[in-house]
Amino acid sequence: MLTMPDPDRRTLERRSWIVDQLRGIVPPAGVIAEESRRRAYECDALSSYRALPLVVVLPETTEQVAAVLRFCHQENIRVVPRGGGTSLSGGSLPLEDAVLLAMGRFNRILEVDWENRCVVTQPGVTNLGITKAVEHRGFYYAPDPSSQIACSIGGNIAENSGGVHCLKYGLTTNNVLGVEFVLMDGTVLRIGGRHLDAGGLDLLGVITGSEGLLGVITEVTVRILPKPMTARAMLLGFPTVEQGGACVGAIIAAGIIPGGLEMMDQAAIRAAEDFVHAGYPTECGSLLICELDGPEAEVDELLARVETIARAEGATVCRVSTSEEERLRFWAGRKAAFPAVGAIAADYLCMDGTIPRKALPRVLTAMDALATKHGLRVVNVFHAGDGNLHPLILFDANKGELDAAEAFGADILKLCVEVGGVLTGEHGVGIEKRDLMVEQFTQGELDQQGRVKCAFDPLGLLNPGKVFPTLNRCADYGMLRVSGGKLPFAELPRF
């Protein structure tokens, strides 16, 4: 059961006037009012939750974004920003009384600065689009979330996206150099840039991962890296999950940081093998896919060392890719894990929590008990290098199993927190995990974050109902600037 903020009646009543005003700010083609066309924006990749936005606005310039936000600020209208709409946590779920600010028209790369190894781009460019723009000269943009073909770089910043290679190359937050950022009152900030130390507080750091709650990104500067000379993958199969996990620890203890290190449990191995026939050993209790990249001489050395470690930890299968085609085939099964599960279940929920790596065996055992408790199956893929776990819960919505699946998911995330981890590693809190925030934070800690929100958006108009279970009125925190003894819109209720 998910409650969203009550719609603002005044906004709903003035809808046509609002639409007219927006048509004066953004070219008419960029304002979508007809219900049938608004439907396309009613959800993101968390498709069990849908809501029709008040109106969809597609600005094309920073000035238009600032003017839209300024207008909404003046009229106390809520705003929900949207990038590629690929959020798995409902981060861009519309509200009935909110302007859905879709940034898809911001889709150009503005500059590639080869001398300073960075790219200046508009936020609607896809993650992979950045790499495509620089690969002809041997560069790439390192964070590679699995949705990289469709997710936007602006959205990546909002969610601090990761991907398979983030253990070695960092998350989005370690690869962004600067943004142009518009606050809810229309103020345009330019933060960071091509120089590394901007002085002052790390605004870019708190903006990254803020899930559309603090402002709207209108321009991005990211660093690009030289592509490694070579990459080879290894398939390492173990009789049990414990042994696979121990191998991960041993690799890292040996001082090796692989380019990628993924784990699948037996259920995931079998589902993937049935689906794509990548040649996975289906008798194994766990499978590691370890990618090593760099100059050839270095990779050869690392492959040998990892093989020695794996065998010492009881690996029964050890295969090394001998060609690029084979390397891709090793990955094909892991990359198909989600659709593979989709093929064996009517529906599935993809969870996203992070745990200390050493807790994996304990967590998987506890998950078996939870599966029995909720009467549903679960399949696990694991970013073994950094502890980010993706349990896939199989269910059938038509049999009324969504509630049980969500309850199972919530139990898993509580377990993650219990063992010293967190609710979400890369998908974000959105609406999906909002009501679990109290499992990880005290009320005082949530209030502290609420005051940070107030510093950026004192009226609480940006992306309401996301991330935090309840945000107090900023006035209650003492954070709302009172002028002339009057609170702005004091008569209006706030969620």
């Binding site: 983030c166 900030l189 130390d197 605004l203 620890g249 001082g255 995990k433 954070m479």
Partner: protein
């Protein structure tokens, strides 16, 4: 009036001091105070030191995580990590000697509060990229946690990023959880003999754009070069990794930089010494001459240094592939060189800090800062510290 200095023994005591300070007194947070010269004098605040909060809370090498108390000296942290073949990849400099504050006295809390980073900054990041979580006392005297012990975490706002580089203006960090990484097995360096600033930096940029993975790229004019144990002006490239990997990569890199200069290889000991000296800006220690630290786009570094050198007699050094410009005045100037720095930044963009200079002359000299950023900064400080208990250095206090 001499400010008081208090040294609480525990997090609880810190919380008590802060809670009772509200509305009555101001506090400037420090570790061992080695960087107090950086921050400038604070006459209206008492100093509260975390020096007594020391020791490791937990260290799990296989999990790449370390939780440590803020008053622990950086040298102690790195020594402990070294025994497990690990390190702080951001390699915090020891700036104590720049202000005559002794060596190896800087605390880990201070390193993170100043967002320090060594020559590997452009590759491995700064303190902020390695701070996973913390415990802190805010300006209300409340104790809170932020972040976590795991790397992949987007649960709520990334408050640790705000604390790194905040110079104690938001709260007192009472425990820090840091990501640690394997230490390279060994290192070598390629020294390109050149006194041509532009050519030398072009070679550095080409090296860094190559797939041969250097981890340090600095240009040392003659004074800085001598301080680093080299005989003449040098563009220096650091290679880290296993013996085997370095051997191959350094040969490939040597071929790649041939168009620019003759390259000589430094062995592990020579390389290690040089990069520590570069990291700590040792060439500029042992004096009280004005010292600036400019952060600019790497390609702009050479022009910025050249412009400044044309107007003032200076010693300089470039690190971070040219993006970090050290400038030390050879002779005193009333404005510490501020007018010249300001003009140079107007052309290049970037940020400058006067680390050491005439009293009463403090930053910020940021070309891209704005009143909007200053205003937001002020609101953020209010979010943690509504009564303004915590004092901030000049470059943050403009808000």
């Amino acid at each position: 009036m001499q400010a008081d200095r208090i040294e609480p023994a525990s997090e609880a005591e810190i919380a008590e001091v802060v809670a009772s300070a509200r509305g009555k007194r101001r506090l400037r947070i420090e570790g061992n105070g080695t960087k107090s010269g950086w921050c400038g004098p604070t006459n209206d605040a008492d100093r509260m030191a975390t020096a007594r909060l020391t020791g490791t809370v937990f260290y799990e090498p296989e999990e790449l995580v370390l939780a440590v108390r803020p008053g622990t000296p950086v040298a102690e942290v790195t020594g402990m990590l070294r025994q497990s073949g690990q390190a702080l990849a951001f390699d915090p400099p020891d700036f104590g000697p720049l202000w005559g504050a002794g060596t190896e006295r800087g605390t880990i809390g201070g390193a993170v509060a100043a967002n320090l980073a060594g020559p590997r900054r452009w590759k491995a990041g700064a303190a902020r990229d390695h701070l996973l979580g913390l415990r802190m006392v805010n300006g209300l005297g409340e104790v809170h946690r932020a972040g976590s012990r795991v790397m992949k975490n987007v649960t709520g706002f990334d408050l640790p990023k705000l604390f790194a580089g905040s110079f104690g203006s938001l709260g007192v960090m009472t425990e820090l959880t840091l990501k640690v990484l394997p230490r390279a097995e060994t290192e070598r360096s390629l020294a390109l003999a050149t006194s041509d600033l532009e050519e030398g930096c072009a070679a550095l940029r080409a090296a860094v754009a190559s797939p041969f993975e250097p981890s340090g790229a600095a240009f040392l004019p003659i004074e800085a070069a001598r301080d680093a144990g080299l005989s003449g002006s040098t563009a220096l490239l650091r290679m880290e990794g296993t013996e085997l990997s370095i051997r191959w990569r350094i040969a490939a890199l040597r071929r790649a930089v041939e168009p620019w200069a003759r390259a000589e290889e430094l062995d592990e000991a020579q390389s290690s010494l040089a990069w520590v000296r570069i990291r700590d800006a040792s060439a500029f220690a042992g004096t009280d001459r004005a010292l600036w630290r400019l952060s600019v786009a790497p390609s702009a570094g050479p022009a910025v240094l050249r412009t400044l050198a044309a107007q003032l007699p200076v010693d300089g050094m470039l690190d971070w592939v040219g993006g970090l410009v050290w400038v030390c005045l050879r002779e005193p100037r009333a404005d510490g060189g501020a007018a010249a720095v300001d003009a140079a930044l107007a052309a290049s963009g970037g940020f400058a800090l006067l680390l050491r200079g005439p009293e009463g002359l403090r930053g910020p000299w940021a070309r891209n800062s704005s009143s909007a950023i200053a205003s937001l900064t002020g609101e953020l400080r209010r979010a943690f510290d509504p009564d303004r208990v915590f004092a901030a250095p000049a470059h943050l206090a403009a808000s």
